[in-house]
């Protein structure tokens, strides 16, 4: 059912996304690769990245799904405004996201001062990494789930209500399963975005090995350190990409099987 004319632009689009990654492969110093990838300099940030991105993704789900429901079921005007607000963080250059988070949660920030009095300091902690990742990844989840909710419509929810099912039951047993594909897509997107987050983290969380140095920060550090030879940065990127692809493919096929 695919119009044949579409195959050409589709291939170009795919090439645009995939070829640069292939180009990256050419830059790899293959003999030195295994040693590098097994070094603590590679594995520690990778572990931290996977851990923080997972936590952030869970946070995105907990906060984002409700937000998506509220937007999807609001009056069109309210929904339009909320949707715009949710999308704004996407526009922020990474650095600005960091400044914004600092101005809120940093020492001297509006909330930061209050927290400081309570003995809580967020910048330079792993919590800051999670917050920065959640901040940048949340819009993805919200937009994806909201779209799915809107497309799924309320027909089945209405049927469930006429059977006497309360809102909680309907949400858990009807709404969520119906938007499962959108939910999964949103989860994948926000996990990917959290995994790749660099800018806001760098400024808001800093860069301390084992605490806040995630993979992207390690890559940047390696890049800055190596000068023109981007070998190490490329190798680390490759590791990140490989891990991401494996996770995405695993989730992708599970997703397909859910849809069947």
């Amino acid at each position: 059912m695919i119009p044949r004319l579409l195959y050409l632009p589709a291939s170009i689009g795919l090439a645009l996304l995939v070829l640069p990654l292939a180009g990256l492969l050419l830059k790899v110093d293959w003999p030195g690769l295994p040693a590098l990838l097994l070094s603590p300099e590679a594995l520690q940030p990778l572990g931290l990245s996977l851990a923080t991105a997972s936590v952030s993704t869970v946070l995105c789900l907990l906060l984002g799904v409700p937000l998506a429901v509220v937007i999807a079921r609001s009056q069109p005007r309210v929904a339009g405004l909320l949707r715009a607000l949710v999308t704004v963080p996407l526009v922020l250059p990474p650095l600005v996201g960091g400044i914004a988070l600092l101005s809120l949660l940093g020492r001297g920030g509006v909330l930061g001062n209050t927290l400081e009095l309570a003995g809580l300091r967020i910048p330079f902690t792993t919590a800051a990494v999670v917050i920065a990742q959640t901040f940048v990844a949340l819009p993805f989840l919200v937009i994806a789930v909201e779209g799915a909710l809107r497309t799924a419509g309320v027909r089945y929810e209405r049927v469930a209500a006429t059977l006497g099912a309360g809102r909680g039951t309907v949400f858990a047993r009807i709404t969520l399963p119906l938007v499962a594909p959108g939910l999964l897509a949103g989860t994948v997107l926000s996990f990917a975005r959290a995994l790749g987050e660099f800018g806001a983290t760098a400024l808001f969380a800093g860069n301390q090995a084992g605490v806040t140095r995630t993979m992207p920060l390690a890559i940047y550090t390696a890049f800055n350190g190596s000068g023109v030879t981007t070998d190490q940065a490329v190798a680390l990127s490759l590791l990140l990409i490989a891990v991401a692809v494996i996770i995405l493919v695993l989730v992708g096929t599970r997703r397909a099987s859910v849809l069947s």
């Binding site: 001297g108 910048p123 330079f124 800093g206 860069n207 920060l217 550090t221 800055n224 350190g225 023109v228």
Partner: protein, 239 residues
Amino acid sequence: APSNASDAEQPATGLEPQTLSVYAAASLTGAFDELATLLEHENPAVDVQVSYDGSSTLATQIAAGAPADVFASADRKNMQPLGDDALVGPATLFAGNTLRIAVAPGNPLQIETLQDLARPGVITVLCAAQVPCGAASASLLANAGVSLTPASEEQNVTAVVTKIAGGEADAGLVYATDVAANPDRLQGVTPAGADAVVGHYPIAVVADSAHVEAAQAFVDLVLSPAGQAVLAAHGFLAP
């Protein structure tokens, strides 16, 4: 040479109308803006565009064929490979930079020495060892026998400055030029042995440059007494 309108129209001694592209390390921002204006003043036909970024970013771009005419790096490490590949002409050192302990104005925590940076309760941030200011910081601390775990190893010196000025961190090691550029927000403390650790800035004309003559003129200006005076005014040492 004094310049006037007729010189611009008839560039017998001046330069052809052209745009000169200078790639300079971010820490050179204030000084190179002035030097660019100076060159434009002397050669009204020339428009100088300076791109500032981290030295490694600029070096990577030049290696990839960026249309740069002059490259001024904050360290030799980023200039060296370009020279080895003959992507730039011979490099000359044109400035040096030393480290200062940066603290908030008034120095509320009374930080006077490198040892104070390791004091419990003091939030210290440094540049990552991989970037020029981080490498310098590491040797400075090693020379003084101080070992400390910074709250963060920033990717560039600007990030260290931001953290201290914004109050996120109490102290850190930055360049003297950074302190000079932010007199209202930072106070500098000169640590013992600072003079022993100097960062050297090389400059070179890019081999592919289409404006070799103008590029050389800019390099010459940087190395000239007038140029050196501008750099000194921004806190740089002589090379």
